[in-house]
Symmetry: C2
Subunit: 385 residues, 2 copies
């Protein structure tokens, strides 16, 4: 059910012909209200796709009636023609729904530079088909239609006290935060105003999607959107809603990590006893972006030296010669030297736990990443994406 689990939403996923495989590639999600509140966070990449430029403007008043998402083409660096395609997509959707075009968000994903006249015609026809197909159990069809190199659709639902939050996500490569690095739509029937929706979304993405860094590459198209229908009539406790939206985001981020292109290990990097949360994030991210460490994990080698070499490039507060490193429960480095033999670490499970104890403070953060594998290289060299 995903985004249609909360009351007040309809969704559809259809085949617009954008994907060469003939699989579903266009989704529409409509907020039937009574509230029409929306909030979104966007990639911080300066190279932004046309849908990002459009949606940033459209969401700025906090009112969103619907969102259109397509896979099979990023509509990024496609010039003014591409921007007009996004504009027409919103206008067509709005006309069919009887709402204003400025209240329709657009998301695209696929190959950069793709967005010609054929693309535009297929998207506009897809919008027509999707609006006809809208239903209050269309969430999973929408989740399927936004997949690119994903091997499975990602959905999540968390239920609160009289309200719920649903979500869909796509993203398998180019996962690095800044924020977003993926397409995500969250829906809720809880009662929130635009200010609260924005604050809740930013707080949740900061500790979930923003800490997923699969391959260090930041996308041009990524957007996380929250739509609020208020259809439950229940104004939730802010803390309870905050915990629930974090849970949904965390669940989806975990699914994205687990399905990252070519990965054979899901690496959880927990940095503890940092002087600040920012320090913990910086240290974790430096390891998440170290190709040598990630290749070693793929090879089953608990190469803690590469961890130290990575964190030594940061400006975080710690003494490089007084750091403990644990891999899958084995302390392999302590006090500037080796501890238990690296051979004692069993790296055969997919789930890999790295703990870095900086020994200076009380803050911590967890960064998720993946290993660097032959399949990653294959997927990103043999196919254009």
């Amino acid at each position: 059910m995903s985004v249609t689990a909360p009351a007040g939403f309809e969704a559809a996923g259809v085949v617009a012909g954008l994907k060469s495989t003939g699989e579903p590639d266009l989704a529409v999600i409509v907020n039937r209200g009574p509230l029409k509140v929306g909030a979104a966070v966007f990639t911080s990449n300066r190279a932004k796709a046309n849908p990002i430029i459009w949606s940033q403007q459209a969401v700025s008043d906090g009112v969103v009636e619907a969102i259109v998402l397509n896979s099979g083409g990023a509509n990024c660096f496609t010039g003014s023609f591409g921007f007009q395609t996004t504009h027409q997509t919103a206008e067509k959707t709005a006309a069919l729904l009887g709402v204003g075009a400025g209240d329709v968000l657009v998301c695209s994903t696929g190959l950069i530079g793709t967005g010609d006249e054929v693309f535009r015609a297929k998207v506009l026809q897809g919008v027509e088909d999707a609006v006809v197909a809208l239903s209050d159990d269309g969430g999973d069809a929408a989740a399927a239609a936004i997949m690119t190199t994903d091997s499975v659709a990602k959905t999540s639902v968390v239920t609160g006290d009289g309200w719920s939050i649903g979500g869909i996500a796509k993203g398998a490569g180019m996962l690095a935060p800044g924020l977003a690095t993926m397409l995500v739509v969250l829906t809720t029937d809880a009662v929130l105003d635009a200010t609260a929706a924005d604050a809740q979304l930013r707080a949740a993405t900061r500790v979930s999607f923003d800490r997923l860094d699969s391959d260090g590459c930041m996308s041009t198209n990524d957007q996380v959107t929250l739509l609020v229908s208020g259809a439950s009539g229940v104004a939730p406790d802010a803390a309870a809603f905050g915990a629930a939206i974090v849970a949904v985001c965390d669940d989806l981020a975990s699914q994205l990590q687990h399905d990252a292109e070519g990965a054979s290990h899901d690496i959880t990097i927990r940095v503890v006893h940092a002087a600040s949360e920012d320090d913990a994030v910086e240290v974790g991210r430096s390891v998440a972006r170290n190709n040598l460490f990630k290749a070693a994990v793929f090879g089953g080698d608990a190469n803690w030296g590469r961890v130290l070499a990575a964190i030594g490039t940061t400006e975080a507060e710690f003494d490089p010669y007084d750091v403990d490193v644990w891999m899958n429960g084995v302390r392999v480095c302590t006090a500037g030297g080796p501890d238990r033999p690296r051979e004692d670490v069993d790296l055969t499970p997919r789930a890999t736990d790295l703990v870095i104890d900086l020994k200076v403070g009380g803050a911590e953060a967890t960064i998720r990443t993946n290993d660097l594998t032959h399949d990653y290289v294959h997927e990103n060299s043999a196919y254009s994406s």
Copy 2:
């Protein structure tokens, strides 16, 4: 001849038994003067190997009599025992040469965490053997002894007006500047004082080794050292010497790039019309560290969208929608959109030229990198290094 091409130097490379292959793994280079000037630049990684900590102190007075280099063990994160090993290495060398231990530099390379009592004993015996083997044509033996995963020894010589500069280098993985990221020794018989030697070395490394970024990973052990004998008796023109030392460094950097672990393409990223040289370097480096772009080059795909996505993460001054991208002479992107078809780009040659025209100023810089290949993953996952 390399480091023994200039007058006033002796060198040796011997088998100390540190490498399991039985190949040469310890080198000594001695400056016979009359000048005993030395300068060095070091990795900026905060996680520094014991030899780095030692050498930074030893070179600070500008006087260097000799340098000892070993492969087969990094002596990094080996605790106070490891530091004592470095100290004893310098003392033993000094005693055999009849000089002060504080004028002997030490470099090590190999697996982090390696440096036990067996390692120490082998290094000390190797120093004895190397001092006996010193000769004025030992430069190439020294070059061979510092190789790790290098497939070939790297040497270079440039001759000036009555003086010359020679050099050796090693480094095949973990190549990212900060500075150094490799072991390099340069020698010259020109007459320079310590201040001039330091300034010339820093200026040259800044535009050569510091712009080689093969895999984004900064090492814990890297050091570039310049030894000045003054044996030619010629005080060179500063500009002429500057051009010569840049030529030697550039030649060695090119050899390092060409021999980078698992690489199938040498990618030269030239960023032109930048607002500043710093901007050009930042933009070039962002592409050099983008796994998706590097995998695309491996796959023969002129994926310019990944270039734009990479440079969009920088803070350099330019308009992402008014950038030209050329690959191997073909302009594939202009003015925020596609230009000539990516299929027109022939990426079969190993040498790959990427030009990014930022169209805002008069500055430029060139960054060297490699593609991301199956062999890179293999070499860094199947073996500990």
